[in-house]
């Protein structure tokens, strides 16, 4: 960040102090450790790295992790948008409470969430027993992974879409209606495009968070290699086997994936704001 050097005569004081503290803290807590970690990865030979991250079992875990995260984020995209819509647009009893509860997955420890979810969705659980009748098994299958990831990603989409929806001027919808458009057309052509940046952000955040989630998933997924084993669990497994290099290599892949994800969102947002002002 070359521009950080304070230019002459900033009128509002405190730039040096706040920027200094921001960079110091960010550096100490985040940049230096992550940098060191990436540097550590570069000490691996390319072959070690490549073998570690392309091991069949690891590839299978990518498929599960990325696939489930995508599905969970997509579920959250649809239902999160729906929940946000319902919370913003409609009135119904208990709305305040429901609105407040949306933050729960942020606040509840993930391990507790995992235990609670498996209690619910195991085939002996509160909900699982009824699903079992239809031959649907949730816990210990990919479905279980998706359930857990959906749970932890839920607030992201709701909380990014909600404020945008609240600010969305009724005039656009009214303009659309006055031009003869039906409700569905208005939704598709006016409301959704306006929500798109927020939806994308929420989607990407939910996805990135789901990709890295560990605590809640290990309880409800079967952890079967090749089938229900998520990538973060593999990282843990590698570390437990004193294989830090393997763990770091896979960790780097996850890190880069998450960074790319954020880069893409920020890029998209920059692009849309450029285009549409």
């Amino acid at each position: 960040m070359a521009g950080v050097a304070a230019s002459r005569g900033r009128v509002i004081p405190g730039f040096g102090l706040t920027m200094g503290f921001t960079l110091l803290y960010l550096g100490l807590v985040f940049l230096v450790p992550v940098g060191a970690f990436l540097l550590y990865t570069t000490t691996l030979s390319w072959e070690t790295f490549w073998n570690a991250v392309t091991h069949r079992q690891v590839i299978a875990s990518y498929k599960l992790s990325f696939g489930s995260s995508l599905i969970a984020a997509t579920i959250n995209l649809v239902f999160g948008a729906l929940v946000a819509w319902v919370l913003v647009r409609y009135r119904f009893p208990g709305k305040k409470l429901v609105d407040a509860l949306v933050d729960l997955p942020f606040a509840l420890p993930t391990a507790v969430a995992g235990i609670a979810l498996v209690t619910l969705y195991a085939s002996t659980g509160w909900v699982g027993q009824y699903l079992d009748v239809f031959g649907i098994r949730v816990a210990y299958t990919q479905l279980g992974v998706i359930v857990a990831l959906t749970y932890i990603g839920l607030p992201f989409v709701v909380r990014t879409v909600q404020p945008v929806l609240e600010d969305l001027d009724a005039e656009w919808e009214e303009a659309s209606a006055s031009l003869g458009a039906g409700r569905l057309t208005t939704l598709r052509r006016v409301i959704l495009p306006a929500l798109l940046p927020a939806l994308l952000t929420g989607y990407a955040l939910a996805f990135a968070r789901a990709l890295g989630e560990y605590g809640s998933v290990v309880f409800i997924s079967g952890n079967l290699p090749f089938r229900t084993e998520i990538t973060p669990l593999l990282i843990v497994a590698r570390a437990e086997q004193y294989d830090y290099q393997g763990a770091a290599a896979i960790g780097t892949v996850m890190l880069v994936a998450a960074f790319l994800m954020l880069l893409v969102i920020n890029g998209l947002q920059w692009w849309t704001s450029r285009r549409y002002g």
């Binding site: 001027d169 005039e171 656009w172 303009a175 006055s178 031009l179 003869g180 306006a194 549409y276 002002g277």
Partner: protein
Amino acid sequence: MSIEIDHVNKHFRDFIAVDNVSLTFREGELTALLGPSGSGKTTLLRIIAGLEQPDTGRIRFHGEDTTELHVSQRGVGFVFQHYALFKHMTVFQNVAYGLTVRPRRTRPGKAEIRDKVMRLLELVQLDWTAHRYPHQLSGGQRQRIALARALAVEPKVLLLDEPFGALDAKVRAELRRWLRRLHDEIHVTSVFVTHDQEEALEVSDRVVVMNKGKVEQDGSPEEVYDNPANPFVYQFLGNVNRFRAGIHAGEARIGDIRLPAPEFHDRRNESGLAYVRPHEIEVYAEAVASDTLPARIELISVVGPTVRLELRTDAADDLVHAELPKHRFHALGLTQGNDAWIRPVQSRVFLPDSQVSNG
């Protein structure tokens, strides 16, 4: 298409926004809805469009009751104060929107839509912006695109909510003349909301003055300006001075000045208020006649070709504003602090019970 508003009422919670309004907008006319902030202009316009539902009363388009009709079925073109252009669509897509959302069987072909949109963009002189996005346009240009978009669906009625409210004084003045010319060309029944009396008077065929949800007066711009129905309208249409006046046998007396007030020919020795516009006050450097009022110049400001004076006189409670052409004022040779004599040459008298509210 004429619009008939028949005893329409609308309240929000315990606030009455539109209070038993009946009006008819005649086919092809451009009507201004004029009134102070909060007087219910927007609400009335939105009721006509079908964006709000009246509590009671009916709306008829060309005699046909449309009160229950959904906005998308009414065939009105609505131009919003802040344009409400679709940000993620180009200018072309914005204007084409109303056509492309039609059900397939009534939707014109691609080429037809293209032609029509481009012709509309030419009409508003903005065909060169077709591929831009709204944020790349100036306020005035956006306003015209909003108009083109509303016109694309060939509305029977065009409704404009403070169409120039968000624009600079200069652009505003240009656009309102442009609107007048456009209307003369296309002659669709139009209603526009404004709180700027100059705009209403300059642009419209007819002015409806509203206050507190009620219609105060309804007539041609000249009628409304020259014969305001009540002090509210009088005051709302421009700067005004109030003199204490005696009313006697069709005459108003301000000091020794007698002004005709024929509508009060049967009143004797009552007291009222005479309303006089600044340019209806003559200013003298000396007491040229017996019937002038002595005054003192408190402030002189020269605004281009005109000079505005503020004078203090015993006959009025507030400062009196007078306006005269610069050359006339210079001929008088007066400066700030001088004594001067003034004489209202025309006035409109109201009895105290029809006082001007603080609108």
